[in-house]
């Protein structure tokens, strides 16, 4: 049996009704500091949700709590309807951490880093033909196939970010969770990222991502949740998000500045 078939079946069985991520009254602390003071957040299947807010508002802590990397002190947190403590379906989740966390002391090629994203499916068995194809496809999606044999240390910030996204995509996830994928990313890479995300959305993948501003991703976002001091300050629905100037990502990125300028308004 192909590894994909099983998951397709699961996906069909659990359609629409059940949220892929659900947080209810989640609180969390980092050391002595309370960072999350009761977060309510759901992501429905196929939905793309952005988390916005000032530095220190709890955006990154929220997504890190959602993937079990920050211990939750209260509230309920479930992935695909399963409480996080009992959740084992990590192969359904693709995670893109903040770029600073991924640095080894030994050189690694782009392909090696992206292949490690496939371990969610292969676990302890070696990579098969389907796995290698998935890695190649993930590299294609982010436009890094021609750099597969290069060291990740030789990449620009934006290219490195594309590699981390390819690593998450290599596992063919149903849910993508990304922590600040646009920070320090040049415009060319932002455009590639927007197109990759559109492809994922069209394929039915749910997405939760932390952003400082919507930028070229604005047309793809179904809902923007704005955090402040560890609470949800407000939720912006699509009609407020879809500023006419953002409907054509090509225009805005090639034109180089308008989208980001307009969207910064959401943060203040």
């Amino acid at each position: 049996m192909e590894p994909g078939e099983h998951v397709e079946g699961e996906r069909a069985m659990r359609t629409a009704s059940e949220p892929v991520i659900s947080l209810r009254g989640v609180t969390a602390s980092l050391g002595a500091r309370t960072v999350l003071r009761g977060i309510d957040l759901t992501v429905a299947p196929g939905e793309v949700v952005a988390l916005l807010g000032a530095n220190g508002s709890g955006k990154s802590t929220t997504v890190r709590a959602a993937v079990g990397q920050v211990p939750v002190s209260g509230g309920e947190l479930a992935l695909f309807g399963t409480p996080l403590a009992r959740f084992r379906g990590w192969r359904r989740v693709g995670y893109v951490p903040q770029r600073s966390t991924a640095a080894g002391g030994v050189p690694a090629t782009v392909r090696e880093v992206v292949s490690s994203g496939r371990l969610a499916r292969t676990r302890l068995r070696p990579l098969g033909r389907a796995d290698k194809a998935a890695v190649r496809h993930a590299l294609d999606v982010v436009g890094m196939a021609d750099r597969a044999g290069d060291s990740v240390n030789a990449l620009s910030g934006g290219q490195h970010q594309r590699v981390l996204i390819a690593r998450a995509l290599a596992g063919e996830p149903e849910l993508l969770i990304m922590d600040e994928p646009l920070t320090g990313v040049d415009l060319a890479s932002q455009r590639v990222l927007a197109e990759a995300l559109r492809g994922q959305k069209d394929g039915g993948t749910s997405v939760l991502l932390v952003l400082h501003e919507l930028g070229p991703l604005a047309p793809l976002i179904d809902r923007a949740v704005v955090l402040r001091d560890g609470r949800v300050e407000r939720v912006d629905e699509p009609e407020r998000l879809h500023d006419p100037s953002c409907h054509h990502p090509r225009d805005t990125t090639d034109g180089a500045e308008p989208a980001t300028m307009i969207e910064t308004g959401l943060l203040s």
Binding site: R88, Y95, P97, T101, R111, E112, S116, A120, R123, L124
Partner: protein, 292 residues
């Protein structure tokens, strides 16, 4: 050269050197990747208590060293998880406790003295017994089974631990396995290289290899080649010049590092130029970009 090979103790020493040359860098590459190059040194300190315990209990020092240093390595791993704030001090306590415990125990042992420890501290080719060779080969095969067989998983854990946890890999188990594997490597290597210099053999071939490589698998492969070259030539040199093998192996490794660094510099430059030229899409490159 052929004369050297006629001695059985040299045959044993060279077999041991070959196994260690393969095993030490194969484990060391993960420690370097995780920026814990010094971990092997700490395990070496702790292993000293194990060696002395072997003398005290009148059993094989290699096996007591395996047990004590594995426990110590797992302790270091636990400190890394739980004691983030003062982890460095906890490690210092563990290292120096291991060293002092070794000296204390060896002097309590009947017929034991610090002189017994010297061959374990700096290595000795003449003391590798028939039984030692069997142990060294057996343990080296275990070390290689872990470090080569689980290379993708260990690579993922050492490259980006948070990501590895989210993929559902058993990260804690893999970290403990790596710690025990490193401890076994240290004790396997101590007869030839010595506990004080083991860490060098785990780290320097890796440092030399990565001057010339772009990927993890090639670094792993090349560092094993370098490891074998320096252990075999160092053991030979030790026979010819009548010096402890640990010293000649490590000095040769450092010499190799310098040579590779000098040779690889032009290679790195031309690669950086090619990378900049092939960047495409107008993405700004940080390295080697022409300054307008």
């Amino acid at each position: 050269m052929t004369e050297m090979l006629q001695y059985e103790f040299m045959q044993r020493a060279l077999i041991a050197a070959l196994m260690i040359g393969v095993a030490a860098p194969a484990v060391g590459v993960y420690l370097v990747q995780r920026r814990q190059a010094i971990m092997g040194d700490g395990i070496g300190h702790i292993a000293l208590t194990g060696v002395a315990l072997g003398f005290l209990l009148n059993t094989s020092p290699v096996w007591t060293a395996v047990l004590v240093s594995s426990a110590g390595a797992m302790g270091m791993e636990l400190i890394r998880w739980y004691g983030k704030t003062r982890g460095d001090l906890a490690l210092a306590l563990l290292f120096y406790g291991g060293m002092a415990g070794g000296v204390m125990l060896i002097n309590l042992a009947p017929n034991g003295s610090n002189a017994n420890l010297v061959t374990y501290l700096f290595g000795s080719i003449t003391t590798v017994s028939e039984e030692d060779v069997t142990t060294i080969v057996g343990l080296s095969v275990c070390v290689l089974a872990v470090s080569i067989g689980l290379r993708r998983q260990l690579f993922a854990v050492c490259q980006d631990e948070e990501f590895a946890r989210v993929t559902g890999l058993p990260v804690r188990a893999l970290n403990l396995l790596l710690a025990v594997t490193a401890a076994v490597t240290v004790t396997v290597s101590m007869r030839v290289v010595g506990l004080l210099l083991v860490s060098a053999l785990m780290v320097i071939p890796v440092a030399a290899a990565q001057q010339a490589t772009r990927g993890f698998a090639t670094t792993l492969g090349l560092s094993v080649v370098f490891g074998v070259v320096v252990t075999l030539s160092g053991t030979t040199l030790s026979y010819e010049a009548d010096v402890p093998p640990g010293a000649s192996i490590v000095l040769l490794a450092i010499g190799l590092f310098v040579v590779v660094t000098v040779l690889a510099t032009p290679l790195a430059r031309s690669r950086a130029r090619r990378a900049a030229a092939g960047a495409g899409e107008g993405a700004p490159e940080r390295e080697g970009a022409p300054v307008a």
